[in-house]
Symmetry: C2
Subunit: 350 residues, 2 copies
Amino acid sequence: MRAAVFLGERTVECEYRPDPHIVDPADAIVRVGLASVCGSDLWHYRGLTDYVPGSPIGHEFIGIVEQVGSDVATVAPGDFVISPWSYSDGTCPNCRAGMTTACVNGGFIPRDNHSGGQGELVRLPLADGTLVKVPGSMADYSTDILASLLTLSDVMGTGNHAAVSAEVQKGDTVAVVGDGAVGLCGVIAAKRLGAERIVALSRNPSRQRLAERFGATDVVAERGEDAVAAVKELTGGIGVDAALECVGTNQSMQTAIGICRAGAMVGNVGLPHGVEISAPEIFARNVGVHGGTAPVRVYLPELMGDVLTQRIDPGKVFDFRTDLDSIGVAYAAMDERRAIKSLVTVADLF
Amino acid sequence: MRAAVFLGERTVECEYRPDPHIVDPADAIVRVGLASVCGSDLWHYRGLTDYVPGSPIGHEFIGIVEQVGSDVATVAPGDFVISPWSYSDGTCPNCRAGMTTACVNGGFIPRDNHSGGQGELVRLPLADGTLVKVPGSMADYSTDILASLLTLSDVMGTGNHAAVSAEVQKGDTVAVVGDGAVGLCGVIAAKRLGAERIVALSRNPSRQRLAERFGATDVVAERGEDAVAAVKELTGGIGVDAALECVGTNQSMQTAIGICRAGAMVGNVGLPHGVEISAPEIFARNVGVHGGTAPVRVYLPELMGDVLTQRIDPGKVFDFRTDLDSIGVAYAAMDERRAIKSLVTVADLF
């Protein structure tokens, strides 16, 4: 099969790799239709992690079940499925507590299953707990709906996790720090949970417009302490009821903490890089910090319902499209900030 | 009037001070019946803060309204009242969000009102938003009930804030880090919120017994990494659904974070001293940290209901009793760890 392989800093290419096959009776093999590039893939692409050259890459994909192991009961060959970015049994204590990313039997794609989402075939362990079946076939859906379904594999679920972790309530004033694809999906999630006012922190005009399209009522272009002052001014000096931290830098975390009203929660989904949380500062104002690797599997059914009924259209975050042979340009477009997020057609299954 | 005064390291004495009087029409003057010594008073007593010698001290008290300003509508002279440890208007955006300790017009006793709770008379600003009237008169209640009502001024409300911040739910397994008066009240709060299993971390036999009397189902005497291992073992390797951090040291915070299951919340009410929160560590396991200065005024009515119906008896935390003239020994008993918490009879109003 053809699959994206990380070859070294700023080099991801489509190569031929052995087809994956069923290893465990709980496995499924999925033939990928659409895949996408995640902001976290870029960390590897940029050589900022210890990602091993020669490894498969990618963890966001939708496709058709090709084959299932003898224990798999909930999906069958031919089913149209969405895969969350991690696999999980759905039955362990952590899964039952809604933390599928901490499943005691689970793992991450492609680190633990050794096949990447940006490839023609993926072996999914724990298929029953992991894959979510979409009604009908891929051919039944428009490319817009398919793009939105693809975001449920990670980015929309991660934006939702930011909003859920920040405990957004109906009527809240919410701020979203970060205008990447996750932050933009965080705007959708905040609106979906009933936020009345949504402040998007962005200095990029096209992302500002998309944030407004998704439900942002205010845009703040300032950064750092100026951003805190601007959001405070928008909220009568009080701060927001919930802040979504969707970047992972120390500045974005300090901004998220700083713009919270007393008692509010920061929902943190930006992987922390050099972040320092001051215990006395958050204590003094009763600001909480909660979040982490997003258990998108938990949110997938309800978000899928909202996509299929067109209540939400997170697929709009894709502003660059290419195919698997050109996977390198999908990365480059995001790396060079020409694209918010790249959609990769792997096979025409629709 | 007579009142406790901080004179320097390990010296708190009863002295004569001018009677406070109404300064603002929203003020009330309260004649104190019972007061108590808080763990946070000990920080000053031990000379670990910049508390100014000659200052009044104390912020936990119950008593009778002596006089009210012309704007005060909800309490009147003769009323039996509980005062929370901070005053607040109850109407500002932070108060409406449940954060009375961040009231935009509020303040802390005695720092901002200049009269301390360990004294015969206290001037309370914002009396309508602050004081909570107890039905009947002090003479109607047993000394046990009065002691429990006194804890609502701070320590029981603070223990409750730990449990609320940790988001304790019915059926949860909860751990309480800290066996001081706040931690012991945290056990009561966790049980009150429906925790099914409560693990008290304590190595002191009498405190272990009191924790069990309050609802602890398990006791762990280990500290640090051994405590984490012990709690993990008690919970099938998973960790607890909620952890109450009631100490404020770095070790207790690391223990609280370490014993959490993926996705769980640490409710932090121990004033942080040297605490470091590792953003990558809490992110990796989706552990949250939330808490701070406790808005006990918010919890006071419901906790008072539970005290008056004898559903809870937090007054049991008092294991040392003296009077205002002997205030120094009330401090010394706690400082030397001979007492969990000291109750001080200021005037026999009951």
